[in-house]
């Protein structure tokens, strides 16, 4: 007697999958292909969105950085102007101890003679 169980098992014909399974699998593949076609434009729009968002973020950061960083020329403290009052007369008094009703500083117009 042939007593090799493997050989005996191999000689038996196996049950085959039904046609219904074939159809189900085929429709699953078809659905997957369909969804892939639909996903492609979404993917493109996602890339466009990413690039746009990155651009906006970069602009915001650039603008914010510019606002926060002081302008070197503007940020420099104005040099103190030292004035020496040479006058000994009433003008000196008017400048140093102006009357209460004339506390507003006088307006000066400076003209510098150029050689």
């Amino acid at each position: 007697m042939m007593n090799d169980p493997e050989q005996i098992l191999r000689t038996a014909r196996l049950a085959a999958p039904s046609a219904a399974l074939e159809q189900r699998i085929q429709s699953t593949f078809a659905e997957a292909a369909q969804s892939r076609r639909m996903l492609r434009p979404i993917s493109v729009w996602r890339w466009v969105g990413w690039i746009g968002a990155t651009g906006i973020a970069a602009t915001v950061i650039f603008v914010a950085t510019r606002t926060i960083t002081p302008n070197p020329s503007a940020a420099a403290a104005p040099a103190a102007i030292q004035c020496e009052i040479e006058s000994r007369g009433p003008l000196r008094l008017l400048l140093l101890e102006p009357p209460a009703h004339e506390r507003t500083p006088p307006c000066f117009s400076v003209s510098v003679s150029t050689p």
């Binding site: 007697m1 042939m2 007593n3 169980p5 493997e6 050989q7 005996i8 098992l9 191999r10 000689t11 038996a12 014909r13 196996l14 049950a15 085959a16 999958p17 039904s18 219904a20 399974l21 074939e22 189900r24 699998i25 699953t28 593949f29 997957a32 292909a33 969804s35 892939r36």
Partner: protein, 161 residues
């Protein structure tokens, strides 16, 4: 999921549908459940963006997991991996012919691990090392399941003749 994934899976399905079905039935012992398991496994696989290089064992593993999920739902199971319409031309012995019902009965007497290993080795031509990889167990364990299963089958066949 990209198109190459679908193409690879389709190729594995076309090449191995009979093997996958036999394997799934050997686990679920119910043909309808086996078909559900294969269908579910491919639905899951088609959601992948990438697949492992050695795809065939991976697909078998996915079908196995789906079949085991189904097996957890308790139901009466007695379907055979063999073609019922083929009776009585089951395994051919020198003196007598085994029916597919007998072969199925003997297979069902094996432990699930022994049955699964013998089905994979006999019908799906997996090497023992591949079965060990597929099951995630050491090679000696699979070899032991295989030897024990064959010995049991041999004993059962000898008693019937």
């Amino acid at each position: 999921m990209n198109s190459s994934v679908a193409e690879k899976l389709r190729a594995v399905y076309v090449e191995s549908r009979q093997s996958l079905y036999t394997y799934a039935v050997s686990i679920t012992r119910q043909r309808e459940a086996a078909e559900d398991a294969i269908h579910r496994a491919f639905q899951q696989l088609l959601r992948h963006d990438t697949l492992p290089a050695d795809l065939r064992p991976y697909v078998f593993r996915c079908v196995r997991n789906a079949a085991l999920d189904d097996l957890r739902r308790a139901r009466v199971r007695s379907d055979s991996i063999f073609d019922d319409a083929f009776d009585p031309a089951g395994g051919v012995a020198r003196q007598r012919t085994f029916s597919t019902a007998e072969l199925n009965q003997w297979l069902n007497r094996l432990s699930p691990d022994e049955r699964e290993t013998i089905v994979l080795k006999t019908y799906e031509t997996f090497a023992l090392q591949e079965i060990a990889d597929l099951r995630g167990v050491p090679l000696p364990t699979v070899a032991s399941w295989y030897r024990r299963g064959l010995a049991k089958l041999k004993t059962m066949m000898a008693h019937e003749t």
